[in-house]
Each structure stands twice: as C-alpha cells, then as structure tokens.
Amino acid sequence: MASPYTQPARGIRKSSAIIDVAAAATPENLYLQSAAGQNARTVILRKVYIWNNTGANAQVQIGQGPLPALGALYPVFYALNGFDNQWTEDEIPEVEVNANLVVQSDVLGVHVQVEVEEIE
C-alpha cells in the first residue's frame, strides 16, 4: 500500500547500469548525475535491487560522491547471500541528492541496480 505521505511525481524515473561491485569496501559510481543542462538535476533513490550470489551475506552502502568518497545517505542495505534483495520506495528514506550516487559493499561481486527519480 502506498504511504499516505507519498508526494506526487516531481521527476522522471530512470534506472542505473547494473554494477558488479569490483572491490570490497571501495566506493564506485552507481548513478551519474545529469549536469549538462542549465542546472544540475537532483535525484531521489526510489528502488534498489541487489543480487547476491557471492557465498556470503553482504552489507551494501549507497551514498553520494564524488569518488573516492562515499557520504552515507541511507541505512546499510543488508543483502542475504543467495537472495534477490529488493527495496521499494516506501522502504527507502526520501533523500534528494545533488551529486553522483555511489555504492560500496563489504563483499565484491554483489550486483546492484537502482531506480531513481530525476528532478529538473
């Protein structure tokens, strides 16, 4: 059920590329900000998909860049091994970000994809 606090759409929905986390505990770009227009667009993280078949449970952190930094924006996503882990917008704090989204995991090989609402 939709949250009674859900706001009307302010932007358009887009998905990131699928990121195969290349190194443990190392931030990498997840969604690059669209910044070539008159003003840089902001994004709100709406959905997270994490597929973990690494053999170990993983803690995945999504935050804001730019690399090599990761500024934490959300609670850590705990991705169970062998599961298709998904979070939808009612479960994700509505944080508007004016930067690239970056991701890191304590286990390499986790696959991460997000859907964002991009706002102009």
Binding site: G11, Q33, A36, G37, R41
Partner: protein
C-alpha cells in the same frame, strides 16, 4: 468564440474557415482568410530525430522540414520530447524562440510533466519558412536517439489584397494574430 494562440487545454484550432488571421512574418502581418482547417495527429512521420548525442553534448541545428507546408498554408504545432533531451526552437534559424531577455526556454521531459496539454510549447510555421530544432543531452550518458514529436493543425489560407488590408494602417475589424516568427 474563444480561439486564440497558446490556449490552455487540449489543442484547438486558432481560427475556422471564414475567419481572418494576421500572420507575423518578416516583421509584417500578412492578412488572410482561412479557407480550410485539418488536423495533424501526433504520429511517427511528424516526429523528428536529431540523432545520437554524446553525454553532455548537443546536436547540430536541423531544419525541421517535416513541418514544412505548401504555399498559402500555415501550421499550428505543439511538441514534446520523446527522449530525455532539451529541445531548442529557432524561427528563423538565428532567432531563438521561447525567448526571454537573457535566456531561451527549452522543451524537456519536465515540460510535459507540468504542462500536459503542451500549450506553452505552441509555435507556428508559415509556408516553407521552416522551424529549426536542436537538442542538448543533459545526461551523463550517450543517447542514440533524440526525438521531438509534434501535432496540431494546418490551415489553408487566401491572402487579402493589400488594397483591402495591410499592416499597420488598414486592419481587418477582427483578426487572430499568428506569431509565425518571434516578435523582435
């Protein structure tokens, strides 16, 4: 009857057969009677593709011949972007539309979000004085297509002889202004 350019709501003709229009063209109003009106539905042939654009790049400025009209006709069009681009309009080629003092408006995916009927995107084309379009890719990834879609109406007209009506001193009693170029 309230028929006028940029009317909010679903697109309507700005004039009907028998009505008089004044088409602003080359810093002069061309006065004409409307003989016939026909719809131009939003459809693939009336859509342009400004091509692949690198991340943050712009396309070439393209003559929008898809909206070109025969002699003694003008068109009324609204538009929206299909891909995530910022579309810019020129009429004539060096003269940007949606114009303010220091900036020009652009049509983006957000235009449709806030103006679903597209009335703020409306523009007019007179005969073969074509519009020109250019697209900016505001994103951090390359686009393979940059499409702009149009819909509206075409009008067949018959110009009045200059002895009858001429700008600016002998004007029709009632007429609709058609801004086919920017009013500089």
């Amino acid at each position: 009857m309230d028929l006028y350019p940029f009317k909010p709501g679903p697109i309507e003709p700005v004039a009907l057969p028998g009505h008089t229009v004044g088409i602003w063209q080359k810093k002069n109003y061309v006065f004409a009677e409307v003989l016939y009106v026909e719809g131009v539905p939003r459809s693939d042939p009336i859509e342009i593709d400004l091509g692949a654009i690198a991340a943050g790049g712009t396309s070439a400025i393209a003559q929008t011949t898809a909206l070109s009209l025969p002699d003694d006709e003008f068109g009324q069009f609204r538009c929206f972007v299909v891909d995530d681009i910022c579309a810019m309009l020129w009429q004539a080629r060096p003269d940007g539309r949606y114009k303010l003092r220091t900036r020009n408006g652009r049509v983006t995916r957000w235009t449709e979000l806030k103006d679903p009927c597209g009335h703020t995107t409306e523009f007019y084309v007179y005969e073969q004085d074509d519009a020109f379009h250019q697209a900016l890719n505001p994103t951090a990834y390359a686009l393979t297509q940059s499409r702009v879609a149009f819909y509206g109406f075409r009008y067949v007209i018959q110009e009045y002889a200059p002895e009858r009506y001429r700008w600016p001193d002998v004007l029709p009693p009632q007429w609709t202004r058609i801004p086919a170029t920017a009013h500089l």
